[in-house]
């Protein structure tokens, strides 16, 4: 599903972000990607999303290789890989429904199906009563649920989340994690970057990968 083969990523200004990283995430696995700030978590997620290309090595995602996928074909990768951010990245001028519908519109869903599908996704996120609310009227947890609904709009096989609970209180954090486990139970691989070790300990079933200065220093799968 996801393979990083000896991947190094160097940025001109900040230097090496990932150093010869290799890992394999099979279909349907739940992975916590952890490490200090600057350890390479976000870079790893961006490489899987193909928002960045490796300086050397290869990234393979659901049949697409970073070496053979042109910029024009990246949209195909993006439809198989949903992405959720710490800062939600919703369109503030639209409602919750409008934000999800936007993702469906731009990925070519038939006009008549957009509204019912967007409504169904929001219902799955527990937001059926908030579909008409503007983004500014929603709590942080609710905004993140809208962002997850949007990420699921294209029926992806993988869900990436970059510190998705970083801006949320404990209760909202638990709610989002439960949602991720529900999504994962449907067969979707989830890779979540977080530095919250308490949160990681609360879900011992998940695989944990720890990065330090761009290198993989711990893999719970191998430790067991």
């Amino acid at each position: 599903m996801i393979k990083l083969l000896n991947v190094t990523k160097t940025f001109p200004r900040t230097g090496t972000a990932l150093d010869s990283l290799s890992l394999h995430v099979p279909k349907g696995q739940f992975v916590f990607l952890t490490g200090h700030s600057g350890s390479g978590k976000t870079t790893t997620l961006r490489l899987i999303h193909m928002a960045e290309r490796p300086t050397s090595g290869e990234v393979r995602v659901s049949g697409f290789s970073s070496q053979r996928t042109s910029n024009r074909e990246l949209w195909k990768v993006r439809r198989r890989v949903g992405f959720v951010f710490q800062d939600f990245r919703l369109l503030p001028g639209r409602t919750a429904l409008g934000n999800v519908a936007f993702a469906l519109e731009v990925t070519g869903t038939a006009q008549k199906d957009i509204r019912p599908r967007a409504q169904r996704l929001l219902t799955q996120m527990g937001l059926s009563s908030k579909s008409g609310s503007r983004v500014g009227e929603l709590s942080g947890g609710e905004q993140q649920r809208v962002a997850i609904a949007r990420a699921l709009a294209s029926d992806p096989l993988i869900l990436l989340a970059d510190e998705p609970t970083g801006n949320l209180d404990e209760r909202a954090t638990r709610g989002i994690l439960e949602l991720f486990w529900t999504i994962n139970a449907l067969g979707m691989a989830v890779v979540m970057a977080t530095h919250d070790l308490e949160l990681i300990r609360a879900y011992p079933r998940a695989r944990v990968l720890e990065l330090d200065q761009g290198r993989l220093v711990y893999d719970s799968q191998e430790a067991n």
């Binding site: 928002a51 910029n71 024009r72 990246l74 949209w75 195909k76 990768v77 993006r78 439809r79 992405f83 990245r89 369109l91 001028g93 936007f102 993702a103 731009v106 990925t107 070519g108 949007r150 990420a151 709009a153 294209s154």
Partner: protein, 285 residues
């Protein structure tokens, strides 16, 4: 395409102020070009009107034989670019002088002989009123036995043609500079409009929209902004033309092709600027 069109129109509806300001900026940039075109076109018309008066006068020898005069007329008529060769007899020349110069009338009764020579007036076709054609006619006429002299105000004609050349070069240089400034203003204006929607672009990419899908509404929006700006510039140039025409002096309105050329330039600039701005964001993410 209907989706791209409705997206572009909804962008107009969502941010009418920004869109209006963009079109206004494009319009003002193109207005400079429009006013310059108005001035350049009228100067060209004035020069053309002066040029139409360019002619060569071939003075005939006293007592030249009719057969030689006819041969001269035929030779000159055969030169490419010559529109007409008009024979002015001595009597006609005197009559013209009496009509046009009142002082001649006072002394005409004292004249025992008509001092005015017969002549041939050579007129040129539009597009052939140039130094080379004039020289060709002049040389051909001087080689004919019936011809005494040739006059065409060489210095004046040379100056006129120099003025025309300088005018053409100045118009090209200034026109290009104004067009470049207009293009830069339109480019910046459209880029600001695209910048205001960079989040939308990034989210479209995030969820898997194709580059073409993202680009199309922006290209259409750029085209519409450019087109509206072009129309506005035409309207403002027309207003200026009307004001000058009614309150200052008479002048000609620029040809329709120039107007459509200006509107088309606005449209093309808008599309290009939009395309470049979106391309930048598509590469960034």
């Amino acid at each position: 395409m209907p989706r791209a069109l409705s997206e572009a129109l909804s962008a107009f509806r969502r941010a009418p102020l920004l869109t209006g300001l963009s079109a206004l900026m494009v319009g003002l940039a193109l207005l400079v070009l429009g006013l310059f075109s108005l001035v350049a076109y009228n100067l060209r018309q004035a020069l053309t009107a002066v040029e139409e008066r360019v002619e060569v006068v071939v003075f005939l020898r006293e007592g030249a034989r009719t057969v030689d005069v006819d041969a001269t007329i035929e030779t000159l008529r055969a030169i490419p670019g010559v529109e007409a060769v008009i024979h002015v007899s001595k009597e006609e020349a005197l009559q013209r002088a009496l009509t046009e110069l009142p002082e001649i009338q006072e002394v005409s009764s004292d004249l025992e002989v008509n001092p005015f020579p017969a002549s041939l007036e050579v007129r040129f076709l539009p597009g052939s009123r140039n130094a080379a054609a004039i020289e060709e006619v002049s040389n051909a006429a001087l080689a004919m036995p019936a011809v005494e002299d040739v006059r065409y105000g060489q210095e004046w004609v040379d100056r006129l043609f120099s003025l025309r050349r300088i005018g053409a070069i100045t118009a090209l240089a200034l026109g290009s500079a104004f067009a470049l400034v207009a293009a830069l203003i339109i480019g910046t204006t459209v880029r600001i409009a695209v910048f205001s929607r960079r989040d939308e672009i990034s989210i479209m990419q995030l969820v898997g929209a194709t580059n073409g899908y993202i680009r199309r509404p922006f290209l259409l929006e750029g085209a519409m902004t450019g087109f509206l700006g072009g129309l506005l510039a035409t309207f403002l140039t027309w207003g200026t033309y009307q004001a000058v025409y009614h309150f200052l002096f008479s002048l000609d309105w620029i040809p329709g092709q120039w107007v459509w050329g200006g509107i088309g330039a606005g449209l093309v600039f808008g599309v290009l600027a939009s395309g470049m701005a979106v391309r930048r964001y598509l590469q960034e993410i």
